[in-house]
Amino acid sequence: MSLVHNFPFISILLCMSAGIFTSVFKPRVARMVTFLVTGTVLVLSAMALSLTMSLDDSYPYIMGHFPAPWGNEIRIGRLEALMATGFSAVLLVSLIPGFERMPCFVSEKKSNLYCIMVDLALAAVLVLIYTNDLFTVYVFIEIMTIASCALVAVRQNGHTLVAITRYMIMHLFGSGLLLLGISMLYGITGHLLMVPLSEAVRQIVDSGQYLGPLTVVIALITAALAIKSAMFPFHVWAPDTYAFAPPLSSAILSGIISKAYIFVMVKFFYRVIGMDIIISQQISPFLFVCGVAGMIIGSVIAISQRDIRRMIAYSSVAQIGYIYMGLGMGSAAGTEAAMFQMLAHAAVKSLLFLATYELINVSGDRKRFRYLHGAGYRNIPAGIVFTVAAMSMVGIPFTGGFIVKLNLAIAGMAFGGWMRALVLVALAVSTLLNGIYFLHTVVSIYRKPAQDMVYPPSEKMSPSAAGALFVSMLYILYLGIGSEPIMRLIETGLKTFS
């Protein structure tokens, strides 16, 4: 075992210890440490990715001295390393503009506490990506919920407090369902590690005993993760939370944290239960229908919004719908497209939230569209990156969003009858709707403002923040042009995933 084999574990440990130590650092140092830790995690994950690309199979990494089926372990494969690399890269570029605008939301004295939560959130995301143990999933989902609650609640604003209270209520309900599901699964199988668990599940299915409880377990855990990742009928908590949080928190929450829940769900489907059972228990058609409904209805509600941040938050609901549509197809191609959407949407959405804040900032902190006229001229870099991100959302070629839609359509073509028709129609309608509201926004930020509108002078965006936004934009363009190797990685990664 080489040193690189340890890197995923080290990156988790690094984030968690950084979370502990930043509490005593001065705010400036704390921000620096958080930034460095995220950068290190990116490098370590990228090295782990290149290692797993040279290996044929994923490898387990035992934590402590007890081998399976007793101890705790993480498992590292291509897909996991790819996701860790993608998410830490998105977080790294979000941190620069996010930290720059932090004084507007967090008092300087408390900003080291904010850094703790960023570290903890990253640690939880990494653990959820790598872990091979179901109870660890529960514990770190709770840590992630606490971290995201604190990330949002730093903003002392009535709307934010109400939104986070609603958020917590829904998430606690989800956690309860998850815990009950895991307990019942432990009750019928006697395992918590995923590999022995999947063997026990096979036995249950073969013998036919406890098939009823197994269905209940699958339903409970799927519902819990669907609530937590804002799948369409359970999305009620999402728009307000994303819209009223500080921009960096919105970027982390909607970009990275919601994807971690979905990754756990994919892991649960593929590694624990087995996709054939998920399909035969009618879970995946349910996800498919919810995904399609979310794609359409999320976009329709987004069109009716007058606050730009709420519009972007509702478009998140629609984009999560794409992921669930891909996952709900039940085929490998569908899941691969969903995985690619997870990577692309993480980058696009965090960029959108950060760029939008810059546009709002040069418009006198007003969020209605009519005040935003001309914002693209007042802050040129933010206008450009917003335009590119919006194009990716609509699915214009050469951006990540186009590849997502293309792959989903290809995955849908493999089916016959109503499913193919539904996939294609849903993609077409949702592209049209995305076009309506995103292009409308782009047009409105480049429109001439009304004569009597006065814009108070605002703080200029620093070159480093603008540079970070541009790097993120280039990443989106890369996902659109150079998607082939990434898709192949996802494809081979999914084969060794279960």
């Binding site: 917590m168 309900f173 815990l179 009750g187």
Partner: protein
Amino acid sequence: MWQLLYENLEQTVSVILFVIGFSILLLQRNLIRKIIGLNIMDTSVYLFLASMGYIQGRKAPIVTDGVLEVTAYINPVPTGLVLTGIVVSVSFTAIMLALTIRLYRRYHTLDIDEIALLARGEDA
């Protein structure tokens, strides 16, 4: 049917408690009642776990009198899970209470719908 439910009395009771808990959590408008509902919901899962790990006639898995046979003790894993779960639910209760205090200081009410209305009124 009733026979089956009676044989698994602890599990039945804990699922009933779970439903009561999450109904309170989701339907009550008072924040303190919501927190109580949250605790009922979590505790019901601990009852479920603890009853699953219990084996009639055996002792808690702590070696005090030198007995080392596995058959003398109950399954320790669910008990460990319950302990972890309790820690989690205590921290969540603390966070929810802190949020409640903040909201109460600002709006002088515990009714979440009323608070939402007041917060919307702040904009105008």
